[in-house]
């Protein structure tokens, strides 16, 4: 036989044999998956953030169908997703409120002082480990973007040296909450619009020394808020289980650390102290 025929037969034979082996294997050995898993995966948002605790949306879909996992674990999908899952699987939907991440610090570089020039690796945990961080305030946002780097949807930006969450883009997966070495980020209900953007538990004079817009513990807001803002030591903290609508709290806060979403920055007009 001439080489052309031999080689054609050889390659053709190998290809045919492989194809036969593969189709036999596919037919007799393939794992049959519950068809509902693929359907459930389609109902999920598909961002693979891992916020539910499973390795991506496909894994969560599997857990929902096979292991009766909770339907409300998907933060990006929110209540709509939970209801769609419940409707598809014929289960009762539990209530789930949409939440967003919030950085509880508004002391950007125009307001807060830095007590040292840090030029190590750009990572908040590393900065924190270097003599407690370069920020004057030991509670405030360091601004080295550790949270922004873990965010699967790029909803966090660093503005003037502090992290700011884009409320519309946030999917509340909670990765930034875990990444922040100063525990500044909280998941809050998306419906809440008035926040105390400070985490400093120091006394008023100590706060004033390092930040122009930190909570000084004056308690004015607690009197105006009908129990929705309470004091934790020298820090006003919003209780998100109670409604907080009184916008007077925003106007009356002497250090302008109570802010309303979407409202212009009130402190911008006041001179830096």
């Amino acid at each position: 036989m001439d080489p052309i025929t031999t080689s054609t037969l050889c390659i053709g034979g190998i290809g045919l044999a492989s194809a036969a082996a593969l189709s036999v294997a596919e037919k007799y050995l393939s794992v049959k998956e519950d068809p509902r898993i693929a359907k459930v995966a389609e109902l999920l948002p598909g961002v693979n953030c891992g916020g539910c605790g499973y390795a991506g949306c496909a894994d969560y879909a599997r857990a929902v169908v096979l292991d009766n996992a909770e339907l409300t674990l998907c933060a990006p999908g929110g209540p709509a997703c939970a209801q769609a899952l419940a409707a598809f699987l014929g289960k009762a939907a539990a209530a789930l409120e949409k939440r967003v991440a919030l950085v509880l610090c508004c002391g950007d570089d125009t307001e807060a002082t830095r007590r040292a020039a840090y030029n190590g690796i750009t990572d908040c945990a590393a900065a924190q480990a270097t003599a407690g961080g370069d920020k004057g305030c030991t509670y405030g946002c360091l601004g080295y973007a550790s949270c922004a780097r873990v965010c699967p949807v790029d909803a966090i930006a660093i503005r003037d040296g502090i992290a700011v969450v884009d409320k519309a883009a946030c999917i509340a997966c909670g990765k930034c909450v875990a990444a922040c070495p100063r525990k500044l980020i909280k998941l809050v209900p998306a419906s809440a619009s008035i926040h105390v953007l400070c985490s400093s538990k120091d006394k008023g004079p100590a706060v004033k020394k390092v930040c122009g817009t930190g909570c000084i513990g004056c308690r004015i807001c607690t009197k105006l808020s009908d129990g929705a803002i309470n004091m934790d030591g020298f820090l006003a903290v919003v209780d998100y289980t109670k409604p907080l609508t009184n916008e007077e709290t925003v106007a009356k806060c002497p250090s302008h650390c109570i802010r309303k979403d979407g409202a212009p920055d009130v402190s911008a007009s006041t001179p830096n102290s």
């Binding site: 050889c10 492989s18 794992v31 690796i121 990572d123």
Partner: protein, 192 residues
């Protein structure tokens, strides 16, 4: 002793990635996180060992007797390795789900990887016997895994550093890969 030399030479001296420059795409592509690098390394070790064994048999009993090994080698090897890996993927999913979950996506990704093909072709060029072929494939894959894991470790650190702007991203990665390759040149002369 001979086998030991073969192993050391394949892992350190003639490292597949850093001296022979094979398998550069996974080397640069999946070296962002240690976790994925580990999965990739596992898959490469697995595929390369099996591919070495199968291609040896193919060469010995099919190609050589018909005088086809001079020009049909590459085509045949790619075809057989690719379908073999697909087959293993199916079988593994059925009988060893944990292993399948660990290697996962990387298994089909490397079916036609140049490092895998390179190991098979080199085996034939050196005229290794069956056992030596498998050993060579296995240790070459270990060398690949070693280079990949070292490089991933370096890149994870570099990601957090603050290089000059013109070096950010791929540029600094390529410089690092070059330096790593230079470092591995230090092993040359260890085995003749």
């Amino acid at each position: 002793m001979e086998y030991l030399l073969l192993v050391i030479s394949a892992i350190l001296v003639n490292n597949f990635v850093l001296s022979r420059f094979l398998g550069i795409c996974p080397f640069l592509g999946v070296s962002k996180k240690i976790h994925t690098a580990l999965g990739m390394s596992g898959a490469v070790v697995f595929v390369m060992t099996i591919a070495s064994a199968v291609t040896w048999a193919l060469q010995k009993y099919l190609l050589e007797p018909r005088g086809l090994d001079k020009f049909l080698q590459t085509l045949t090897f790619i075809l057989v390795i690719a379908s073999l890996v697909q087959l293993i993927d199916i079988v593994m999913k059925r009988f060893a789900p944990p292993l399948h979950a660990a290697l996962g996506i990387f298994l089909p990704l490397i079916t036609t990887n140049c490092a895998v093909l390179g190991a098979a072709v080199l085996n034939m060029k050196e005229g290794f016997g069956f056992f030596k072929s498998v050993l060579f494939g296995f240790s070459a894959a270990l060398g690949f895994a070693l280079a990949l894991l070292i490089f991933t470790g370096l890149r994870e650190k570099i990601d957090r550093a603050d290089p000059p702007r013109c070096f950010k991203g791929v540029a600094i990665s390529l410089v690092t890969a070059g330096l790593l390759s230079l470092a591995f040149m230090g092993f040359s002369g260890l085995v003749k």
